[in-house]
């Protein structure tokens, strides 16, 4: 299979089932290098399911190419080693370990490179001064917002090439949401490509380059984010009607 423009992530007709129920059906999408791509859609559309399948935590049918190589049959850990990183909806932090250890383990795949680990700590503490203040606190005792920051920080510690974020603004105050989205768009400058799943469609489309709308497991609409934000259907359903 020859692909002329080689995408960083190329998903061809991916399907995921829970038993007999198909939660994601024939989804095709791609992420270019250095791009922010967003997937928006209502509750239960299959967004989390899709990201889980891409990370390898759920079995799936169809083809996924990452950096030109098929991902089928590779373990989660192999994908992590190759720079694919997921911040899951439930965050999956190490609750009974301190913030600093959570971050340190984020750099687990690069653990033999002390200089890298130090640099990553600086970068993350720089972006999230709050985490630096709380570095000795157990992750399980953090506030909701701090927990989101820690999840994002832990993901950045491994210097991912493709970062998949599942609702990074979930349950956050508007001010922090803005901050999180600023950080996401600043990651682009570091050369990180991002696949962003969001409920907050407006913020997502304002940040992203390209967008997909996922409804009941299928892609119903796709296009440049700047076009989608003015699309009549998207405006009516996901942006609250005004615009």
């Amino acid at each position: 299979m020859i692909q002329l423009p080689q995408y960083l992530l190329d998903v061809c007709r991916l399907s995921v089932s829970y038993g007999k129920v198909e939660a994601v059906r024939d989804v095709s999408l791609h992420v270019d290098r250095g791009q922010i791509v967003t997937i928006i859609g209502p509750n239960g559309a299959g967004k989390t399911t899709l990201l889980s399948a891409l990370m390898g935590t759920l079995p799936s049918h169809g083809e996924v190419f990452y950096d030109g190589a098929a991902l089928a049959g590779t373990e989660i850990e192999d994908r992590v080693e190759r720079g694919l990183c997921l911040v899951p909806e439930k965050r999956e932090l190490f609750a009974d370990m301190p913030v600093a250890d959570n971050l340190l383990l984020g750099a687990y795949t690069r653990r033999h490179d002390a200089a890298h680990v130090r640099r990553s700590f600086e970068l993350v503490y720089d972006r999230f001064p709050r985490l630096k203040e709380r570095r000795g606190q157990l992750a399980g005792t953090l506030s909701g917002g701090e927990r989101q920051m820690l999840a994002l920080g832990r993901a950045l510690m491994g210097e991912p090439r493709l970062l998949m974020l599942d609702e990074p603004s979930l349950g956050l105050a508007p001010l922090i949401v803005r901050e999180i989205f600023q950080i996401i768009s600043s990651l682009r400058e570091l050369g990180v490509s991002i696949l962003l799943v969001e409920q907050n469609a407006r913020a997502a489309l304002e940040t992203a380059d390209y967008g997909y709308v996922l409804e009941t497991g299928e892609i119903s609409l796709e296009g440049k984010a700047s076009d989608l934000i003015h699309d009549a259907r998207v405006t009516a359903t996901y942006l609250g009607g005004h615009d």
């Binding site: 850990e77 992590v80 080693e81 250890d101 383990l105 687990y108």
Partner: protein
Amino acid sequence: MDIQIASILAVDGIATGAIYVLIALGTVLIFSVTRVMFVPFGDLAAYSALTLAMLQTGQLPGTVMLVSVLAGIALLMELTSHLRAGKAAKIPKAILYYGILPVLPPLIAWLSQGTVLPFWAQMLLALALVLPIAPLLDRIAFRPLADASVLVLLIVAVAVHFAISGLALLFFGPEGYRTEPISRAIFDVGGVIVSAQTLLVVLAAAAFSGLLYLYFERTISGKALKATSSNRLGARLVGIRPQVTGTIAYLLGGLLGGVSGLLIGPVATLYYDSGFLIGLKAFVGAVVGGLASYPLTALGAIAVGLLESFASFWSSQIKETIVFSALIPILIWRSLAAPQHEEEEEDIA
């Protein structure tokens, strides 16, 4: 009971408790990282003591055979799974870890047959022979069931225990052994007689607990083990392989079990099936720590040793009954002390 007897009982109890500390720490370590309640743990202690007894009487211990066969089975399983998945690149590593490293100690034991090894070399060899057993059992019996529930894993662990202690009868026979003491010196500490062997047991237990603590707090590998027990999926998402951390947990556990066997060998006569009771008492200590907290586990294990020692003074016939009855108040205390733990435990199951 006067103060003299009480202090003798206390010294005895702390020494016994120190042994339980090592085994209980290993049990908690393996359980928290792999979710396997490793029932054959006490058997490892018995194996190392009996293996040393065999080496000291100049015989080739059956452990040589056991480890070689287990390594062979594990290697076969590893090779077929790699070939099936089409991952030929992983084969050299598999051969090194399952085909070569575990059979080195048996090979040395076999080659050194007939020559009289120095005392310390016999101890090291006995330890090295026991060390691969737990990781190999993990590869053969537990890893294929990685996603099974805690209960299924427990049932398999009980089955493995019966197999291992049955083989011990075959290898070591029904008679009991006592190994040579490491030192015969005796001290008089303020009127209480303390043997050097007792002191050694306590020091070794303290040293190994301390090392374990440092490993978890100071090394990234130790933290990866902690992370695996804290959140398995989270660990995988940062690239920690539960199979690898599991193997490390089994190796460390095997080390703790083996060392405790070497330490009790000279102070108690051990039979092929002595391990189970030792493991069970250590388990009582581990329950004090809720199978999660290492410091509480160590305290619990010492308490079990003391209880056993005093119980045997009051009535040596029912000392086991007294020790195991202690489980009831401990469990009540634990369920009262930590009701909020229920949710987490459901997650684990």
